[in-house]
């Protein structure tokens, strides 16, 4: 393994100007990637991952520093570099109106693959990606996972020595995600390819041979993932009971010495600043009678530790008091369900996007809808918000039938979407005012709520700033503030934390817990397996149906087997999807 590096960056910097502000996308980045391995480029959105990929592919010119790929200068020799490496951008340019085969032909033509070599290469690629039965299907009619695989096949038409994959697994269902990873592993093992793969999913880091941790344009750390998690040895614990995990977590978060406290189904995962013995941990509030067991460290623990070390902050404390002002409607045992869905169906043309689902959500509960893109969770969500009428079934939100009182029902819902849909050219305060007024607040009531939002979400210094210029984490805060201006009883969150950094995600969930404690009912959709663990109950959806609905721990327990004594949520999901597929084939 003493080969020359296949990709090497020295003191690389690149800045972009937007709206009069200069953002350093990359700021003095140096690394060397060895050949014949998968290297992970890990970081939240805005860390500089795509910029780095594009610099490596010679599509951007660095401000300073240099980057060499395959022994060639990516900047000066960009044509030679582009001919030698394969680059799959985040949204690969598939022609949706062409068939799978026509897309392949097109990329074979573009990359100058000789006609004689094609038949054999196509067979290999189709076999590898499992797309062989679909060669005559239009690319636009493939599922998200299949599109990614086709994109990969097109990139690989002419086998490159270095493959750059920019977030290939975003929004892909867990089954396809595993398949993509096994393709990547095989390329490295059998074809001796070198792969640089960027991702915002921290669990994927452990599959890489080496990782580069990127945050706000700077490298936090690099090396084999095991060395990063090894630093956390003796510092990670599972804590369970007495009391619900969410309450235990609320007691732990923000305590000195605590790096991270995370709800994981039926227990709390606790990460400490130093290696402690269980006896000392028992001294932390709420842990006197708790069961504390040591657990092996994960990559994410190491990443959080690095981020906290850099930001110089302890774990985000539990959010309460002011946030839930005016929302105190604690759950009572006899409460009627806040959301009732029965036999809900929705058809688009001859396709049932949602095919008969039923569930109920109680007051103060955090209910998750988990599924890949296209599973029907967004459609369900849109029907619940009154954005889409149901084809059949009943839907009651806050006791109101959405068919008859959509506007009144909407007034009791807060909605926050993954795109943080704010008016970019309005200031923070103007956004707050607008959404408050749209929910019927005026005069003093509006001013009071605006003040509340600015204080509670620490947005006061940015009140006059355009919301488009906020960082992703602050946009998320503002979006949440806008959704809470009218003190809704129910909060709908559509992929609320996709792409934000893990610290912002934790802070966000602290707020969600506080709201749930105050009696706000929360419905969240996510394709983040990790996030599903934070819910009280969750429904796993695929192909418009609910495959399983239970508490996260129970869902995971369902996938337990002798080979897999402690299955993850992803294991459970894959198992459920597989058995659903088998049942369908049997029928």
């Amino acid at each position: 393994m003493n080969d020359a590096p296949i990709l090497e960056a020295t003191d690389l910097a690149k800045a972009f100007s937007a709206g009069g502000r200069r953002t350093r996308a990359l700021d003095g980045v140096s690394f060397a990637i060895r050949p014949g391995a998968v290297t992970g480029l890990i970081g939240p959105d805005g860390a500089g991952k795509t910029t780095l990929m594009r610099l490596a592919a010679g599509l951007l010119v660095p401000d300073t520093g240099r980057i060499r790929a395959l022994g060639l200068d990516s900047t000066g020799d960009s044509l030679a570099v582009q001919a030698a490496l394969g680059y799959m951008p985040q949204r690969f340019g598939l022609y949706e109106d062409l068939t799978v085969q026509e897309n392949l032909d097109l990329y074979a033509d573009l990359q100058g693959l000789p006609k004689t070599a094609r038949t054999e290469r196509y067979q290999e690629l189709m076999h590898m990606t499992g797309l062989a039965p679909f060669t005559r299907r239009l690319a636009g009619r493939l599922s998200g996972g299949m599109k990614q695989k086709l994109g990969l096949a097109c990139t690989l038409v002419r086998p490159p020595r270095l493959l750059l994959l920019d977030e290939p697994t975003v929004g892909v269902d867990p089954v396809s995600r595993r398949e993509l990873w096994s393709i990547v592993d095989r390329l490295v093992r059998d074809e001796g390819m070198s792969v640089l793969l960027s991702t915002a999913y921290l669990d994927e880091a452990e599959r890489c041979q080496a990782v580069i941790l990127l945050d706000r344009g700077k490298i936090l750390d690099q090396g084999p993932p095991a060395t990063i998690s090894a630093r956390m040895a003796g510092r990670t614990w599972a804590v369970s009971g007495p009391g619900r995990p969410r309450e235990v977590q609320a007691g732990l978060a923000g305590q000195s010495g605590v790096v991270d406290a995370l709800v994981q189904g039926d227990h709390v995962r606790l990460v400490m600043q130093t290696a402690d013995d269980p006896a000392r941990l028992a001294g932390l509030p709420g842990l006197e009678d708790a069961r504390i067991t040591a657990v092996p460290p994960r990559f994410e623990d190491g990443f959080i530790d690095l981020l906290r070390g850099r930001a110089g902050t302890a774990s985000s404390p539990a959010q309460d008091s002011g946030l839930t002002e005016g929302l105190q409607r604690r759950a009572q045992p006899g409460d009627a369900p806040v959301i009732e869905v029965a036999g809900l169906r929705r058809r688009f043309g001859d396709f049932w996007a949602v095919d008969g689902i039923s569930f109920e959500v109680r007051r103060g509960e955090i209910f998750g809808l988990l599924g890949a893109n296209g599973a029907g969770k967004s459609t369900t969500f849109r029907m619940l918000c009154g954005l889409l009428p149901a084809s059949a079934g009943t839907l009651r939100v806050a006791g109101l039938d959405l068919r008859h009182a959509a506007s009144a029902a909407r007034g009791r819902i807060g909605y926050m979407s993954q795109k943080f849909s704010l008016y970019g050219n309005l200031s923070v305060a103007q956004n707050l005012d607008f959404f408050a007024s749209a929910y019927g607040l005026a005069g003093d009531a509006r001013a009071t709520r605006r003040q509340w939002a600015l204080t509670e979400f620490e947005l006061t210094p940015y009140a006059e700033q355009l919301s488009a210029d906020l960082s992703l984490g602050y946009k998320q805060r503002l979006a949440m503030a806008c959704a809470l201006m009218h003190q809704p009883e129910i909060l709908f969150l559509d992929e609320p934390t996709s792409g934000v950094d893990p610290l912002a995600r934790r802070e966000f969930w602290q707020r969600i817990y506080a709201l749930a404690r105050a009696g706000v009912t929360i419905l969240v959709t996510t394709h983040f397996m990790e996030e599903a663990e934070y819910c009280d109950r969750l429904a796993i959806m695929a192909a418009g149906r609910i495959l399983a609905m239970d508490e996260p721990a129970a869902i995971k327990a369902g996938a337990r087997s002798p080979e897999l004594p402690d299955p993850s949520m992803e294991d459970a999901f894959v198992r459920l999807a597989e058995s659903a597929g088998e049942a369908e084939r049997a029928a």
């Binding site: 954005l387 909407r410 849909s421 008016y423 005026a442």
Partner: protein, 374 residues
């Protein structure tokens, strides 16, 4: 929800639309600069009037009569002699390279024929490549020759021609094209602005993902539609007023008729413009589609309106199509109010078709709006 709550929501939406439109320097620029440029272009550059028509003289005659005729041409401010020819073959190259618009050819026997009391032919060659300009140029030549004829008959004691033309142009005594164009511009420019403002507004929100966020608020589809329609309407009225002021104060186009009638027409016209814009808006998913849709509507609307070419000259089928063009009616109102001094009584026949077009397009837009939310 109470009516009060609805008003709060509606005002908030309108306030937000204005903020979004006016805060962005680029969209502010779009509202002000292109209309001003178009106003100046139409005010100064677009004119049917010809000035300093370049012409060549080919005079084979040496007599007094021809000298008098030549003096008449040289004295007319509309004409500018750029060449004096000596041979017939010099004509072709001059016309070919557009050095002259017309060539006046006086034959060798011109003066002799006139002196003998008869009439003499006078040849005029015009460049017919632009038929409109050629016709106007020819008319100018005709009036110069006519004046020459009158003077000649008077000074030589001859009998004047049996019938003599005496023209008086009503409403526009000097037949200035500017008086014809500028009132029309009020219609054209307000249409462009309101269409752009309304056709892009929903598409922009769809693109940014804020439309869903808007839809989950208690705002009803009808309220959203109204909130989107009013800013376009208000901007149209404001812009119409600015152009009206420039037209009367700067370009000195006389405004003889009733101002309330003009504004009533403008309001109805904007109603149909906003309706068409929202119709496009409810169909367009991206701003690009919205923009294309707006132009797809505006270009025919202007051409078929009679803005530059009279509707009466169009084939009957096309004339029938112009009946659904709101600009057609508003142009009539504008010109009648400006130049003819018309009031409400004369214009009723123009008001109701616009009201119908506006109502139909708004109803259709709100129907589509509710059924295309998904």
């Amino acid at each position: 929800m109470t009516g009060n709550g609805m008003l709060t929501r509606l005002l908030a939406l309108i306030h937000k639309e204005f903020l979004a439109l006016l805060k962005d320097p680029r969209s502010r620029l779009v509202l002000v600069v292109p209309p001003m440029i178009q106003l100046l272009v139409f005010g100064y550059a677009a004119t049917f009037d010809l000035k300093h028509i370049p012409y060549a003289l080919y005079n084979e005659d040496r007599g007094a009569a021809s000298r008098e005729l030549v003096a008449a041409f040289d004295g007319a401010p509309a004409f500018r002699r750029v060449a004096t020819l000596r041979a017939e073959r010099e004509i072709t190259p001059l016309v070919d390279r557009r050095a002259v618009l017309a060539v006046v050819h006086i034959g060798p026997r011109f003066s002799a024929d006139l002196q003998s009391g008869g009439s003499a032919p006078l040849q005029v060659i015009v460049d017919g490549r632009n038929s409109n300009t050629a016709m106007i140029g020819l008319n100018y030549v005709r009036s110069v020759v006519e004046r020459f004829n009158l003077e000649w008959t008077a000074s030589h004691g001859l009998q004047s021609p049996p019938a003599r033309l005496q023209t008086r142009a009503w409403f526009n005594p000097n037949l200035e094209s500017r008086w014809f164009f500028i009132p029309g511009i009020i219609g054209m420019l307000t249409l462009v602005t309101t269409m752009l403002v309304t056709a892009l507004t929903v598409a922009r929100e769809r693109e940014q993902g804020t439309f869903d966020q808007l839809l989950v608020t208690p705002l009803r589809p009808g309220e959203i539609l109204l909130g989107k329609a009013l800013p376009g309407f208000i901007i149209g009225i404001a812009q119409g007023t600015v152009i009206l002021l420039i037209a009367t104060l700067w370009f000195k186009v006389p405004l003889l008729g009733s101002l309330p009638a003009l504004y009533a027409g403008l309001a109805l016209f904007l109603l149909s413009g906003v309706g068409a814009g929202l119709l496009i808006s409810s169909l367009a998913v991206t701003q690009q589609q919205g923009l294309l849709g707006a132009f797809l509507f505006m270009v025919p609307a202007v051409i078929l309106s009679g803005f530059a070419t009279p509707i009466a000259n169009m084939p009957p089928v096309v004339q029938a199509i112009t009946l659904i063009d709101p600009l057609r009616y508003f142009l009539v109102i504008l010109r009648k109010v400006f130049l003819e001094g018309a009031g409400f009584d004369v214009l009723a026949s123009q008001f109701w078709p616009m009201a119908v077009i506006g109502a139909v397009s708004l109803v259709l837009a709100s129907w589509l709006f509710r059924h295309r939310l998904y």
